[in-house]
């Protein structure tokens, strides 16, 4: 490799500059996370020291023990899991069927319907809070899991449908025709051929929907005022009161909140690589 390629001059920036640039970029992106982790093991006094301490001499886990055993965070964590998993699952199921319809069938008004799906995404959050609240109250769903799950489903569904539609469209239609000739029904086509080949698309939608709902703040603040349904972002905010903020606890809780997302990303990473349809057709 080195013998031949070294003679060719590569156009563009020199390699060392690209390396330095990338490292800088990564440092800037990761700095808040580093600060979050470091701060979570500092004592309150160390947090306010100037100049800042980059790594405390005696890391303390007092913040974690406070967060895990003396606050509502574990309960909020459970609520967040239920609400995010519930809305992600629901959005995924609906998105699969809606996207398959958009991707595979011709029907009147399809372009209009497809753009209407996006309109929900375009409305500013503040504009729909009040109508949603009234609706939820009418349905008796304020301060319930179902209320949050349905609201989150509404905000994640449009983009999920668009993502999956474009993914389904890329699966060669001959594969389904072959399956139909082989005796498959439409549903069998979807579940035995198209879905297994769309795993990277499904994974992206899951990560998108889960992360969006996991981090959502405004709706949770308005529709879940009882501690039995409050989610983690609200929990974080509760550490800062009118008089003081327990930054150590906020940081520890933030770490707790970040971990599931990090794990989700790492476990799905393999799927994003794609290339699942290699060898299907001519290739």
């Amino acid at each position: 490799m080195s013998g031949k390629t070294s003679k060719l001059t590569r156009p563009g920036l020199p390699g060392w500059l690209i390396l330095v640039g990338s490292v800088l970029l990564v440092l800037v992106c990761l700095f808040p996370f580093w600060w979050m982790v470091v701060s979570s093991v500092k004592t309150l006094r160390e947090l306010y020291t100037v100049p800042p301490i980059w790594w405390p001499d005696t890391p303390t886990f007092q913040n974690y023990s406070n967060v895990l055993f003396q606050s509502n965070i574990p309960r909020y964590f459970l609520n967040s899991v239920i609400v995010s998993a519930g809305s992600t699952g629901l959005a995924l199921i609906l998105a699969i069927f809606a996207s398959y319809g958009f991707a595979r069938f011709k029907f009147k008004g399809k372009p209009l319907l497809q753009s209407l799906v996006l309109v929900a995404q375009l409305l500013p959050t503040a504009a729909i809070i009040v109508p949603l609240f009234i609706t939820l109250r009418f349905l008796g769903l304020v301060n319930t899991y179902w209320g949050l799950i349905l609201v989150y489903m509404i905000i994640t569904l449009p983009l999920s449908v668009w993502m999956l539609t474009s993914y389904f469209k890329n699966i060669p239609v001959e594969l389904e025709e072959a399956a139909i000739i082989d005796g498959a029904s439409r549903l069998e086509c979807l579940f035995r051929i198209t879905l297994p080949l769309s795993l990277p698309g499904i994974a992206s939608v899951m990560v998108y929907a889960f992360v969006t709902t996991w981090n959502e703040f405004i709706f949770a603040l308005c529709f879940a005022t009882d501690s039995s349904v409050k989610t983690l972002p609200i929990g974080l905010a509760e550490f800062s009161t009118e008089f003081n903020t327990d930054w150590g606890a906020v940081m520890a809780a933030s770490v707790v909140m970040t971990l599931p997302i990090a794990i989700l990303f790492l476990s799905m990473q393999r799927l994003f690589v794609g290339g699942l349809t290699a060898g299907a057709t001519k290739g």
Binding site: L175, E177, A179, L276, G279, A280, T281
Partner: protein
């Protein structure tokens, strides 16, 4: 195995009709090739036989049963796609057994049947591989195996060889033919390649612009093309066509060249005709018509010569080795028994003798 009847079948997309009433009778066990230029409707017709497209009008019956309203799986057909359409997430064995699995056949039966077919196609060693790990020819064979596993009444092939390189295409062509000899399953095969059609078919259906131009055995089409389209489409290099008319029992080319034609052409006195002659029916003859050589293409066994004759470019194929260079003149005559005349107005062939 079953006969297949296509009776006045039409296909329209809205107001646009793309198939204008197609009639084809296919007997039990016959190998029929649908051939035509791209866009002629041959693939659409095949997809209608398969049940992937609706039949707008007319009737398709398989084994005496009208299948218009039946789902593909109820038609007892199997199809091989141009792109093979192998399921990429399944092994060769799963690909081939998929239809039986959907039909809820017992697992052992599926395995036995797949192994059976795999043996006849030399695929036993590849059963656990995925399509991406196979070569083009192997993928092609798996696609065929997937169709054969079901033992259908009718095989449908949609340009199955067009993704292969030239050498492999010839090999797979004879493999498909051998399989047909062994299985004797009624087969409808779509291609745009007239060589494939000539070499494989029991019966060729030439299609053009949504119509059937002619149906017949390969040599029938070659020897007695029904019209100018078939004459030009079947045969490679194509039949030479020279425009002119019949004057005094002779063919008079547009540039004034007089050519002798069979005596029966005298009844066409004065009519505008096109004279057709196949490249191999031009012979070198000192008493013939002068033709200026434009290019010479030796292929070894024979030599193709492009010439200017009677104001038209014509191709001749000669077994002799031609050493003449472009720019020189060759003297040619036409084998009288192999001259075709076509009506310029209708494009239809004018029979010159009862047997030709």
């Amino acid at each position: 195995m079953a006969p297949l009847t296509i009776n006045d079948v039409r296909k329209s997309y809205g107001a646009l009709e793309v198939l204008h009433g197609v009639n084809i009778d296919i007997t039990d066990g016959e190998f029929v090739v649908l051939v035509g230029p791209s866009g002629c409707g041959k693939s659409t017709l095949l997809r209608m036989l398969a049940g992937l497209e609706d039949i707008s009008a007319g009737e398709v019956s398989i084994g005496g049963r009208v299948v218009n309203a039946l789902q593909p799986k109820e038609r007892d057909i199997a199809m091989v796609f141009q792109s093979y359409a192998l399921y990429p997430h399944m092994t060769v064995e799963q690909n081939m057994g998929f239809s039986l699995k959907l039909a809820r056949a017992p697992k052992q039966d599926v395995r036995d049947r797949v192994l059976d077919v795999a043996k006849t196609l030399n695929l036993e060693d590849y059963l656990q591989r995925y399509p991406r790990q196979l070569s083009g020819g192997q993928r092609q064979r798996v696609a065929m195996g997937r169709a054969m596993v079901r033992n259908p009444e009718v095989f449908l092939f949609d340009e199955p060889l067009s993704n292969l390189d030239a050498k492999l295409r010839v090999k797979m062509r004879s493999e498909i033919k051998q399989n047909h000899h062994r299985l004797k399953t009624t087969t409808v095969y779509v291609t745009h390649d007239q060589v494939e059609a000539m070499t494989m078919a029991d019966k060729i259906v030439v299609m053009n612009a949504g119509r059937v131009e002619q149906v017949g055995s390969p040599l029938e089409l070659y020897d007695r093309p029904a019209n100018i389209f078939v004459a030009g489409f079947i045969g490679s290099p194509a039949m030479n066509l020279i425009a002119g008319r019949i004057v005094d029992g002779h063919f008079l080319g547009a540039d004034g060249t007089r050519m002798t034609v069979p005596a029966s052409a005298a009844r066409l006195e004065g009519q505008e005709v096109k004279l057709g002659i196949r490249p191999e029916h031009l012979v070198i003859d000192p008493q013939g018509h002068p033709a200026e050589i434009l290019t010479v293409e030796p292929t070894g066994a024979e030599t193709l010569v492009l010439m200017q004759l009677a104001g038209h470019e014509v191709v001749g194929v000669f077994r002799e080795r031609i050493t003449l260079a472009p720019g020189k003149t060759l003297s040619l005559s036409l084998m009288p028994d192999h001259i075709h005349l076509f009506d310029t107005q209708t494009g239809l062939r004018i029979p010159l003798s009862p047997e030709n």
